[in-house]
C-alpha cells in the first residue's frame, strides 16, 4: 500500500483546522460588531433633503422652539413635518430670492407639498407615540440628539430595540421636568441625582415601569 499523502499533509491539516476554528470565532466577533455598526443601524446617516435645512441655524441661532414646526408632537403620535406655509411665514419676508429656497417657493406656487425625508424612521411594526413620550418627561434631545448642533439633520440614535429597551427598563434618569422638554444641552443627570430626581419625576408623571417592557407597549 502506497503512502497516499505527503509528509507535510498533517501539518497543513492542523493549520487548516486551527484557522477554521479561529475563522468561526472571528466571524462571530465581526458579525457582533457589524450588527451594531452604523452601517446596519443607520446611526449618523444624513439623508439628502429637498432643501438643506439647518437645525443649527434655526434652533441655536434663532431660538425657534421645536414645536413651532413640529406642531403635532404634543398632541399626536406623529410629531409632524412642517408644511410649506410654515416655512413661508418667515421666508415670504426673509431671503425671498435665495436660490436655496427655490423648492419652497415652487411648492407654494404649484401647491405640492415639500417631500421631506424622514431621518428617524422606525420599522412599521413599531407603535411609537410622540405625544406619550413628550408629555411624560422625555426630551426631544434624548432621541434626536443635539439638534441645535446639526447643520444638516442626522440620525442621532441607533434606533435598535435594545436602545429603546435601555430606556424603557430604567426611564428615571432620562426624565425631565415639564418645562425642559424641548430644551437642548441638558446634561445627563449623575447616577446619584438621577436616582432621586428621577424617582420624584416618575411619581409626578405616574409612570409604571412594570408595564413598559411588555410586547404590546410597542408592538400592537
Amino acid at each position: 500500500m502506497p503512502q497516499i499523502f505527503h509528509r507535510r499533509t498533517d501539518g497543513l491539516v492542523r493549520i487548516l483546522l486551527a484557522s477554521g476554528g479561529l475563522a468561526i470565532v472571528a466571524l462571530a466577533v465581526v458579525a457582533y460588531f457589524i450588527d451594531r455598526s452604523p452601517y446596519l443601524t443607520g446611526q449618523g446617516a444624513v439623508p439628502e433633503q429637498p432643501v438643506p435645512f439647518s437645525h443649527q441655524h434655526h434652533v441655536a441661532g434663532l431660538g425657534i422652539d421645536c414645536r413651532y414646526c413640529h406642531t403635532g408632537v404634543e398632541k399626536s403620535p406623529f410629531a409632524g413635518l412642517p408644511d410649506t406655509h410654515t416655512c413661508m411665514s418667515c421666508h415670504s419676508q426673509l431671503w425671498t430670492n435665495a436660490q436655496m429656497l427655490a423648492p419652497v417657493r415652487d411648492s407654494l406656487e404649484r401647491d405640492i407639498p415639500l417631500r421631506w425625508i424622514r431621518v428617524h424612521k422606525l420599522a412599521d411594526f413599531v407603535y411609537f407615540n410622540h405625544r406619550v413620550h413628550v408629555t411624560n418627561g422625555i426630551g426631544c434631545e434624548s432621541c434626536h440628539g443635539r439638534v441645535d448642533r446639526m447643520p444638516l439633520m442626522r440620525q442621532a440614535a441607533p434606533l435598535t430595540m435594545q436602545w429603546c429597551l435601555d430606556c424603557h427598563r430604567n426611564p428615571g434618569p432620562s426624565l425631565r421636568p415639564p418645562g425642559q422638554i424641548t430644551a437642548m444641552g441638558i446634561e445627563p443627570a449623575s447616577e446619584a441625582r438621577a436616582a432621586t430626581s428621577g424617582h420624584t419625576l416618575l411619581k409626578q408623571y405616574a409612570i409604571h415601569t412594570n408595564r413598559l417592557t411588555e410586547c404590546i407597549t410597542c408592538h400592537r
Partner: protein, 466 residues
C-alpha cells in the same frame, strides 16, 4: 426462536476477505451501472425541482401552500414530522440494536443510518420552510442581538429548533463514525489515485490499531446510549408543538409516546423497504436474509400496535373527556370533509398492519415491501388528518374552511422524495451499503461460537468416553 441465531443470519462460507471484497467491490468497481444511472438521473431531476420549488417558495412566501387561517400549518409541518419519523428508525436500529447486541443488526445498520441522515435533511428543509420567514431562522438562537431579546423558552418552536439541530448533528456524527473504518478499508483497496485521495481524506488516517478500535467502540457505545433519548425526545418535542396547545384534537398528553411509536413504525417500514430493494438490486440476499426481513416486520408490528393503541386511547379520551369540542373533532374526523383521509389511515395502519402477525408475510420480500409502502402512506395520512381536521373547524363557525393542498404542496412533497432518493443513490455509489467492520465482527463472533461448540462437543465425547 432458533437456538443459534448467528448461524442463519450469516452465510456459512463468508470470510473476512470474501465479504470485504464483495462489499468494497460494489463501490470501487460497480458492475450494474445502467440502472443506477437511470435512477440517479431521475432523482437528480427531482432534486433540482426541489431546489427550484424551495427558491420560489422562499422568494414568494408560504402563501403558495394550501394553508390559511384557521389551518395555518398544513403540508410543511406534516412533512417535517413524517420525514423525522422515517429518520428515527435509522437511529434506533443502529444504536439500540448495538447496545442490546442484536445479532441481526450488522447488515441493515448502514442502510438505516444513511436513511436517517437523508430523511433528516428533508425534514430540516421542511422545518425551515414551515417557519414562514426562513430568513429570520437565527432568531431561534440565543445570541446577543440588537433587540435585547431572548428566544421564548416556553415555545415548542424553540424546542424544535434545538431538537432538530441536535438530531441532525448526532445523525451526521453517528453515520460518519460508522463509516470511518470502512473508508479506511476502501482507501486500502482503492487502485485509482482519485479514489485513494477521496477515501484517504475521509478515513482521516485510520490505521485499525487496537487502541483506535478500543476508543472507537467506547465512543460508539456512548453515542448509541444517547441515541434512544434523542429519538424519543426529538419526536416527542415535535409532538408537543401540537399537544401543548388548547386545540381539541391536538391537546392529548399521549402525543409524545404516540408520535415516537408512529415515527418508529414508519421508520422501520422504510428500512424494510430499502432492505428489500437493496438486496435484490445488489444481489445481497445471503447477507440481508429473510430472517432480517422477519425481524424488521416484527418491529413494524410492535410499533404499529402501539400506534393503534394510541388511536384507541385518543378516541376513548375524546369521548370520556365529556368535552363537546373534543367529541366534535372526532365526529368531524369520521364524517367531515377529511374523513376519507382518516378512514384510509385506519385501513393502512390498522387493518393492513394485522397481516404482519403472519410469519409468511413478514418473510416475503414483496409482501413486506407493499406493507412498508402502505404503512408510510398511512403514517403520512395520520399526520395530515391530525393537522387538518383539528384546525379546519375551530371554535368560531364563521372561520371554518376546508383548505386543500395546492400544486406547490404536491410538487415540493414529490420533489422531497426525489431529494431523498438522490442523496441515497449518491451514497450507495460512494460508500458501502453494508457496514464492513460490523460484518467482520459478526463473522468473528460466529467463528468463536463455532469453536466453543466444537470444544463442548469434544468435552462431551470425552466424558461419554469415560
Amino acid at each position: 426462536m432458533a437456538e443459534n441465531p448467528q448461524e442463519n443470519l450469516l452465510p456459512a462460507d463468508l470470510t473476512h476477505a470474501s465479504m470485504t471484497e464483495r462489499i468494497a467491490g460494489l463501490v470501487l468497481a460497480p458492475r450494474s451501472r445502467g440502472r443506477w444511472l437511470l435512477a440517479f438521473l431521475v432523482s437528480a431531476v427531482l432534486a433540482l425541482l426541489f431546489v427550484l420549488c424551495l427558491v420560489i417558495v422562499f422568494a414568494t412566501g408560504v402563501g403558495l401552500f394550501g394553508i390559511n387561517i384557521p389551518v395555518a400549518w398544513g403540508f410543511p409541518i406534516v412533512n417535517t414530522i413524517w420525514w423525522i419519523g422515517i429518520a428515527h428508525a435509522g437511529t434506533l436500529i443502529s444504536a439500540v440494536l448495538l447496545l442490546t447486541r442484536q445479532p441481526w443488526r450488522a447488515p441493515v445498520a448502514r442502510l438505516a443510518e444513511a436513511m436517517a441522515m437523508f430523511a433528516i435533511v428533508c425534514a430540516g428543509f421542511y422545518a425551515i420552510v414551515h417557519l414562514g420567514r426562513p430568513q429570520l431562522m437565527h432568531f431561534l438562537l440565543p445570541y446577543p442581538n440588537t433587540m435585547g431579546l431572548w428566544p421564548q423558552w416556553r415555545s415548542p418552536l424553540v424546542w424544535d429548533f434545538f431538537a432538530i439541530s441536535t438530531y441532525f448533528v448526532f445523525t451526521l456524527g453517528f453515520l460518519y463514525f460508522s463509516l470511518l473504518p470502512d473508508f479506511a478499508t476502501l482507501r486500502d483497496r482503492a487502485r485509482s489515485r482519485w479514489q485513494q485521495i477521496f477515501y484517504g481524506v475521509l478515513a482521516l488516517g485510520w490505521r485499525n490499531s487496537a487502541l483506535h478500535w478500543a476508543r472507537y467502540e467506547q465512543a460508539n457505545g456512548v453515542l448509541a446510549a444517547v441515541a434512544a433519548p434523542i429519538v424519543v425526545s426529538v419526536t416527542g418535542i415535535i409532538s408537543l408543538d401540537l399537544a401543548v396547545s388548547l386545540v381539541p384534537g391536538f391537546h392529548f398528553p399521549i402525543f409524545p409516546p404516540y408520535f415516537v411509536a408512529g415515527a418508529l413504525f414508519s421508520g422501520f417500514a422504510t428500512v424494510a423497504l430499502l432492505a428489500v430493494v437493496t438486496r435484490s438490486f445488489y444481489g445481497l440476499q445471503d447477507l440481508i436474509t429473510r430472517r432480517h426481513l422477519d425481524y424488521l416486520g416484527r418491529m413494524m408490528l410492535l410499533f404499529g400496535l402501539i400506534v393503534n393503541y394510541s388511536y384507541s386511547q385518543e378516541i376513548f379520551t375524546a369521548w370520556y373527556s365529556g368535552d363537546i369540542y373534543m367529541r366534535a373533532v372526532y365526529l368531524d374526523r369520521w364524517t367531515g370533509p377529511y374523513a376519507p383521509a382518516w378512514w384510509a389511515m385506519i385501513f393502512c395502519n390498522v387493518v393492513l398492519l394485522q397481516f404482519l402477525w403472519f410469519r409468511r408475510v413478514r418473510r416475503s420480500p414483496w409482501a413486506l415491501f407493499a406493507l412498508a409502502i402502505t404503512s408510510n402512506v398511512g403514517m403520512w395520512l395520520e399526520r395530515y388528518q391530525i393537522l387538518f381536521t383539528s384546525t379546519h373547524a375551530d371554535f368560531i363557525p364563521a372561520n371554518w374552511r376546508t383548505p386543500l393542498p395546492t400544486v406547490w404542496d404536491g410538487l415540493l412533497a414529490l420533489a422531497s422524495l426525489g431529494l431523498f432518493a438522490f442523496f441515497l443513490l449518491a451514497f450507495v455509489r460512494l460508500a458501502p451499503v453494508v457496514s464492513m467492520h460490523d460484518m467482520r465482527s459478526a463473522i468473528h463472533r460466529r467463528e468463536e461460537q463455532r469453536k466453543e461448540q466444537q470444544q463442548e462437543q469434544q468435552k462431551k465425547q470425552r466424558e461419554d468416553g469415560e
